[in-house]
Every structure is written in structure tokens, then in C-alpha cells.
């Protein structure tokens, strides 16, 4: 038998699943807290549904011929399926607040943190053009990161329309605007000096580049950043509207109690070239050195475009980089759970007590405790070995003396502490 999985795909053993499910359930519960419901779409789509939507990345679509001779593809992201669902289901009440947390496939060259099969997680609002919706998405990102116990992270927020005005105001010629954006996008990684070099290499006029740097290098409170941008771009009504949008967004976030330490305005955030139409954001952690953990923004024309005009709704939302978050949390040692969901192993000190152990395990299960007991007629030492290998946090030892007293000995496998308890007491202890 071929023991390997296809390149860029992975088995998730229980130890990894316990961590993945913790992250996934945490993320889901935040989404649901804000009134988002789950949506799922098939792994396979007609290739024609996906084609013509991803620009240069289109070459990564994992396409194949169906047994029936049709061109089929594994889904590439959650966005095109969302547009399809919206177009196919006009009955869905708007705003349609949904999250989608499923595998996606990209036939890319696998490398650290990049897989051919990976989980993608999107949360979006379709049909609201209020900045309150954008603020809600950022509030969700902050709640997700905090729920996962990230302490140092920043959601960096800007506005695509402001960026558009800024490069024009600075005097970047029309045919160099995309080049200018590509350079600006690197500000966070390479700093102002790096961006200056990029501008030169990409043919952005020096004077224009300096004017841009003057805007994007602005730091300070949201108020300060916006006032400075307003001053620099004074007289540009479209820029002013975009600035006011960010000002409203900041107000909504304050209303929602989003702590200021976790987000800032950063006009160097550009995020893609033609997908977004309003506020945009990226989320970075101080450690480890890793890309954005959650990026998104407003996409008022995307549903129309992706659905070929079959549906036309504004929208805003974000991707939560589940795989990257799991990698970052692993690297930072943020997972403190064991390798199993089992809470207690019920061990019999000798074979004759195995059935009593089984009865006790069953009582614990009925009380809602995840419990295992021996199914292999093993000696006590082997049972302890097994519980230890799985990282089960407690072992309940059933011996003749304990049984006679209606008790068991509960051993905490981390501390080695042992206590004699009734089953009811043990249940109370194990529930904590």
C-alpha cells in the first residue's frame, strides 16, 4: 500500500485534530456571537464556474475531467462559491451574514505553511453598505485573536479608495499606479527606505514617491492619522469621503468597545489591486515573523462581477488564516491541551475488577465525562503507560479496597497527586 498522501496534503492525527478543532470551534463561536451562520458548498465545482475569476492564480486551479466527461475543479476559495450561492438563492434575507470554514485546493508548489489542500475560513456580510458592517468584521477579528489568546497583534486598517486618491494626488502617472501599490504594500515589511528603493525600481517618479511616503509614514492615533491625511489631500472631495468613512469606522469600533491597542490606521495597507472598494485591513502578530493572519475589506462590486451579473450586492468580510494561525500558535507554544479529548482513564488494578472499572467508566460517561477504560486485558502498569502515551490528564484507579468503600483513587497525571473520592466527587473534580 502507498502510505503517503498526495503531495501538499496531510493526515491530521488526533493530537493535531484536538488543536485544529480548538481553533476552529473558537473561531466559529465568535462568528456566531455576531450573528453569522455557517454555509457549506461542495468540494467540486464546474470548472467553468471557477475559470476567469482568479487572474494569474488561475493556473493553480486543481481541474480535472469528470468520469462523465465534464470539466470539474476542486474549489479554490470560498468567494466564488459564495457568489454562486447568492446568485442561486435570491430568497436569502439580506444582509446575508455567513461564515464558511472548509477545505480548499490550490495546485501550488508546497512549502512551509503552504499546502495543496488547506482549510480556508471566510466571514462576510452580503448586502450591507454601512461602515458599521466593516467595523463589525474588524471587531470579530479582534475577538477571534483575543479568544485564541494572542496578546500582541494589530489590525492595520486603511481604505482602498483613499489609496487610489493618494497615488493620483501624489502625481503617479496612470500606467505606474499598480507599480506604486505594489511598492506601498511592502511598507510593513521593508520600511520607508525599502519602499523608496522599490519606487525607483518600479519607475515611480521620485517626487510622487516622497509625497506618498509622507502620507503612509504617518503614525499616531486614528484621529491624528486622519487629520494629517485630510490636510495633505485637502481639496480632494473623494479623498475626504474615504477619510470620513474611516472616521465613521473608528467611531463604530469605539462604540463596540474594540480596544484601541489592537488596531490602528495604517495608510500603507493596500491589499490587492482591484478586488476591494472601501476599507481594507491586515492583521499581524509581533511574533513569529509570519504574514497577515486575517485580511479583508469591502468588496461592493465583487458579487456582481463573480456572478457575471446574476446577483448584485455590496459586501464586506475577511479571511481568517486558519492554517497560518495554527502554525503560529504551534510555534509560539500556545496550545496547552493534551493529545486527546479523553479526560480520564479508568484502570482496574487486576483483571477481576475490569468489569467494575467498565461500570464506573460508564457512570462517568453518563455524567458527561469523556472516559476510557481497558479493552485489552492489560496489567495496571500497561494501562498507565497507555494513558500516559495519550496524555489523558487523569487516571481513576479501581482497586478492591476502593470498591469496598464505593470509592476510586483519582490520580492527576501531571502532578502525580492522588485522592480517594466517591464517583460523585470524582465527577465534580473531572468537570473542572
Amino acid at each position: 500500500m502507498q502510505l503517503a498522501t498526495p503531495r501538499g496534503t496531510r493526515d491530521f492525527l488526533p493530537e493535531q485534530m484536538v488543536r485544529r478543532e480548538y481553533v476552529i470551534n473558537t473561531v466559529k463561536s465568535v462568528f456566531e456571537r455576531y450573528g453569522y451562520d455557517p454555509l457549506e458548498t461542495p468540494a467540486v465545482e464546474f470548472a467553468e464556474t471557477l475559470r476567469g475569476k482568479y487572474g494569474e492564480e488561475e493556473k493553480l486551479i486543481w481541474e480535472f475531467e469528470d468520469l462523465g466527461g465534464r470539466r470539474i475543479a476542486l474549489k479554490y476559495d470560498m468567494t466564488v462559491p459564495l457568489a454562486r450561492v447568492i446568485a442561486a438563492n435570491p430568497q436569502l434575507p439580506k444582509p446575508f451574514k455567513r461564515y464558511q470554514l472548509q477545505p480548499a485546493w490550490r495546485y501550488d508548489e508546497p512549502q512551509k505553511g503552504r499546502y495543496r489542500e488547506f482549510w480556508q475560513c471566510d466571514v462576510d456580510i452580503i448586502g450591507s453598505d454601512s461602515v458599521a458592517a466593516d467595523a463589525e468584521i474588524v471587531a470579530i477579528i479582534v475577538d477571534v485573536m483575543r479568544a485564541l489568546q494572542f496578546e500582541e497583534f494589530t489590525v492595520r486598517i486603511s481604505n482602498r479608495r483613499l489609496a487610489d486618491r493618494m497615488v493620483r494626488w501624489a502625481g503617479v502617472p496612470e500606467d505606474k499606479i499598480i507599480e506604486a501599490f505594489r511598492a506601498i504594500d511592502k511598507m510593513d515589511k521593508i520600511g520607508a527606505d525599502g519602499v523608496r528603493v522599490e519606487f525607483a525600481e518600479r519607475g515611480v517618479p521620485k517626487a510622487a514617491g516622497e509625497k506618498i511616503l509622507e502620507v503612509i509614514a504617518t503614525t499616531g492615533s486614528p484621529k491624528e492619522v486622519l487629520e494629517r491625511a485630510e490636510k495633505l489631500l485637502a481639496g480632494d472631495e473623494k479623498a475626504k469621503a474615504a477619510i470620513n468613512e474611516l472616521r465613521d469606522m473608528a467611531r463604530y469600533m469605539a462604540l463596540m468597545g474594540v480596544p484601541g491597542q489592537f488596531w490602528r490606521l495604517d495608510l500603507s495597507v493596500v491589499r490587492g489591486l482591484d478586488y476591494y472598494t472601501g476599507p481594507v485591513w491586515e492583521t499581524n502578530v509581533t511574533k513569529p515573523r509570519i504574514g497577515s493572519l486575517a485580511g479583508g475589506g469591502r468588496f461592493d462590486k465583487l458579487i456582481n462581477k463573480l456572478s457575471g451579473g446574476a446577483a448584485d450586492f455590496t459586501g464586506t468580510g475577511t479571511t481568517i488564516g486558519i492554517e497560518r494561525i495554527i502554525d503560529a500558535m504551534t510555534e509560539l507554544g500556545m496550545f496547552d491541551m493534551g493529545k486527546t479529548k479523553t479526560r480520564v482513564y479508568v484502570a482496574a488494578v487486576k483483571a477481576e475488577l475490569a468489569e467494575s472499572a467498565l461500570e464506573i467508566a460508564q457512570k462517568l460517561r453518563q455524567a458527561g465525562i469523556n472516559a476510557q477504560t481497558d479493552l485489552m486485558d492489560r496489567k495496571l502498569s500497561k494501562q498507565f503507560e497507555y494513558a500516559g502515551a495519550l496524555g489523558i490528564p487523569f487516571v481513576a484507579v479501581v482497586g478492591p479496597k476502593e470498591l469496598a468503600e464505593g470509592k476510586l483513587t483519582l490520580r492527576d497525571m501531571r502532578t502525580g497527586n492522588e485522592r480517594q473520592l466517591t464517583i460523585e466527587q470524582a465527577v465534580g473534580e473531572l468537570r473542572q
Copy 2:
């Protein structure tokens, strides 16, 4: 845009997802209660991994050529991937108790209840040859069915080795044994008279058929069924061993407190032809007329066979027919949840109060309540329409009078009852 999904695949809108997740989470929590951990494997496997494993069904494997020219297949079930994982990970402590709940793909002709992409749910113990393990699996099935609120269901249990001995004892010639099994397998559906006809059509000698019917038509308590089988097959040591296995299994189930009303011994259960090596079972509901909801058994040679000898472990387990269960529960009207996970919609009576509504929604969220509020500047009546369309159970109305008193009006959307409550009181109410 192509609005359809490929044939035999489905979108799951939030309304359906809420039901599916309820079933999936219920099933998972029972598995975890018994000490099983999740495992996931990729959607794609090398075609060679799947080939040669499924007999006639092999033609349903959804195979295709990779962009790199390799033959790849969407996974067909959870069993072959399990065997691969076991062989690839000898470090996994045994018994390996895992469940796997993921989509599988079969390129079959879609029909009612049969899809090309569907969720498969398996729970298995690898590496234990104790009948206690078989009993545990049946206890899990019973707990799953009860947790899902099925009231009338029966796990019908037999033993593949007993069936083998029975047909030989009855005098079925070697080349008609498979035919005899195929007829016996229909007992539950077509009754003794139907099986008699099947025997005749399939060339099973009349006398042998009658002897078999005498055994499999036996009803009564486990004790009665076993005693009768023991009497009929007296002198056959292998049959006796198989009967004793069932006797032990019954004893373990009694120890685990599995109510007798939910299972019985039924020697007409054969379940497949060469996969199982010990106890086997099917699970049926009285209504609706639908096939087995959970079938499985002991498969002591399967891991060895599927892994091509790369691993050799005994095992037992069951499939839970998630899709069939969801269909049955839908048909029986057993889902009483709404279309959304949102618990409350916070409505402002006029636009000027929208920000107060937002603040209140945020307080409810911080208290763990799933809450939505308006993001579209809608009138109160439109907000109620939206909450009603989504089936959100409560609406919290924020008006000037309520606000002045630090209160809100909580409306139960099902009964129409309204109460003025403080936010803390509302949280208490909404948590119930």
C-alpha cells in the same frame, strides 16, 4: 455564471447547516464521551491506494489525472484511509480509538438519499480483540440514537462466524453459500416467506433453507435466541464459540446499562460477505421506511488486507449513516431548531437609536449571547421582518423610554410575549 453544483453534490444553506451541525455535534460528543478522538485524512488519495479494495463498487471511485500526471482519486470511504494511517503511523498507541467524520465521494447515479458527495461517519477501535469493544460500539450507537431523540429503534446483532457455521450446518453447498447469505440478508425486509422464495431462486436446497429459517426466525430475549441456536447447532464447536461471543457481548452491554429495548439478537443479520469476522449489527427505525442507520461489526483481518500486510491489527467499529439520519429526522419532523444560530435581534425603534442598539448588542455578545443588530438603516418594521425571516427567536426592542430606564423590551417571537427587562435580566432570559 453556472448556478448549479455538479450532479449529486449540494450546497448547504445556513438553515440546513444548523440541522447538520446539530446532528454532527451530537454524534461527536457521544464518540468523545467514550474516549474516541477525531482523525481527518485528505479528500484526495493516490488512486493506487484505493484500487483493488472495493470489489464491484470499485467502478464508483471518482478518479482523475492530476495536473502532474499522477492518478488521483477522491476518497471513497473512511476505511481505506484508516488502514493507511494505521500502517503509516506505528507509533499510535493501541487500542487506537478514533472517529472520522468527513465527506466522501462516489460516482454513483444520484437518487433520493444518495449523493456523489456525502458525509461519512465512522467510529472504530483498532487493536482490541475483546468483545467488550464490540459491546462498546453498540452502546455508542444506542447513545447516539437516543441523544438524537429517536424513540423507536433497534440495533439487530448477530455474528458473522455463527452465520458461516449455520449455513454449513444446514447443508448449503460451498458454491451456494454466498447466495444463501444474500437471501438471509433480506429477512428483515421480506420476511421468512420472501426468503424462502429467494432461496429457491438462488438454488439453495430446500431442506437447507428450511433449517436456516428455523434458526434465523428465532425471536425472544438474547438468552432464548442463544439457547435455541446452541441447541440447533449442538456439537459444532466453532458455532458454540461464536454463540459464546454473543453471550459475552450481551453481558457487557448489560454491564454498560444499554437498555434491552434498543437491541436484540437477530441471526438474520449477515452484513456483507467477507469483510466481517465476528459480531455484526444493523440499526433500524420503525419509521420512516429507510435502510440501516448504523451498521458495522468486527473486522479482524481487514487492516492487514487493506494495508497489503503493512499493518496487522484486529478491529471493530461502525458506520453512522449521517445523511440517512438527517433525512429520517427531517421526514419525522424531529428538528425543532430555527434556521439560524442567532438568539436575539436587537432592534432600534428609530435611526437615532441605532448606535444604542449596537452597544446593547455588543453587551449581549460579551455575555455570550449570539446577537445581531441592524446594519442597513432599516425601519423597525423591516427589522422585525428580517428577524422573522431568519427565525431568530427573540427581538430586543430599544426605544427612548426603555433606554431612559436602562431597559429593553424583549419579545418572544413565537409567543408574541413582551417583557421589559434590564440587560442583565435579558441575558438571563436569553441563556435559557
